[in-house]
Symmetry: C2
Subunit: 200 residues, 2 copies
């Protein structure tokens, strides 16, 4: 199965996915890394791994719709069947989701449905939870609201600041995301309403 | 430190607290078990452990306020310094909370702030989360919204129904609640805004 990974920044989750592919633990091939920002570290990581890259700047498109049409074009050209958002700082539209139904996944740094949206780690610290974590979910039209594939818990420790908590969650993200993508690539995932079944 | 445990039903968390006291792992003494319903199993458990019990029926009080005034009277009479709600199916009022500021705790069968209110396990299943759990929190005027003392994660397994998930969460509740009460009883807990610090 051909995957695209959509990025906007440093791409540590991309790196985890590329590393899993190298170890033959991804169940598929990263066929394209697409960034909406030029010059980011994630593009370097892709090049280093010999993966085709593409920059599709949102600045060069008049609307979200126009951007997402271009995005769909780029992904179809690369014959992508599964799209992994990995720090992609764009809200995707129905145009994009309708083109890849049930084929777009994201990772979010909280135990959803707690703390959706931006700065999930900061939200968790402000709320005073003792456990937070990360969630891989299918992307739907809402804010981090799609069916949940997998979750991992991470403790909040006394004295944590946002950077320390973010780093501790990332360790789990880097294990959780490749494993979830592998399950999809290997055809082991089925969705029934909001409940996702993963066969082992 | 003298504790009261407020119950309405079978009292499995009460049992865990009584067992912890017997093992000298509670850091305090259960001085009163109070139920708003007569004849429940929790009262039997208390009697079995030689703990004074009291039934204060909400039916015999004209309003929530009147009930909570009677409740405060009963707890003061027993010289209680810490109140643990354990399946107590009453919403408490400001009258009660003002009488015991920062001294009322509850356990809730989800990882708050996810799934507050009734049927938390059913809510978790309906949402399709892969992780849920339980939370010990201070009680404030909101719905399961007070500062969080401790949390434990519990996996949701394929094929879970409400009863199975509830049972799996209860195993963790029975460890988490006595440990949190002990930390308070031993004076190791401090609250700063929403963040709770527990010294070891």
């Amino acid at each position: 199965m051909k995957l695209a990974v959509l990025v906007s920044g440093s791409g540590t989750n991309l790196q985890a996915i590329l590393d899993a592919e190298k170890r033959r633990e991804l169940g598929g091939t990263v066929a394209l890394v697409l960034s909406n920002v030029a010059g980011v570290k994630a593009l370097e990581r892709a090049a280093q791994a010999g993966v085709p890259t593409r920059v599709l700047s949102h600045r060069e498109h008049a609307s979200r719709e126009a951007y997402d049409r271009a995005l769909v074009g780029a992904l179809r050209e690369a014959k992508v069947e599964l799209v992994a958002l990995a720090g992609f700082m764009r809200i995707v539209t129905g145009t994009f989701l309708d083109a890849f139904p049930g084929q777009v996944v994201n990772i979010h740094p909280s135990l959803l449905p707690a703390f959706p949206g931006m700065h999930a780690q900061r939200q968790a610290l402000a709320h005073g939870v003792r456990l937070t974590g990360c969630t891989v979910h299918f992307v739907d039209g809402g804010l981090d609201s799609g069916p949940i594939l997998s979750q991992a818990a991470v403790p909040v420790l006394d004295g944590d600041d946002e950077a320390r908590l973010t780093a501790r969650i990332l360790v789990e993200e880097h294990k959780l995301y490749p494993a979830a993508l592998r399950a999809i690539a290997e055809g082991r995932v089925s969705v029934s309403g909001r409940r996702v079944i993963i066969r082992s």
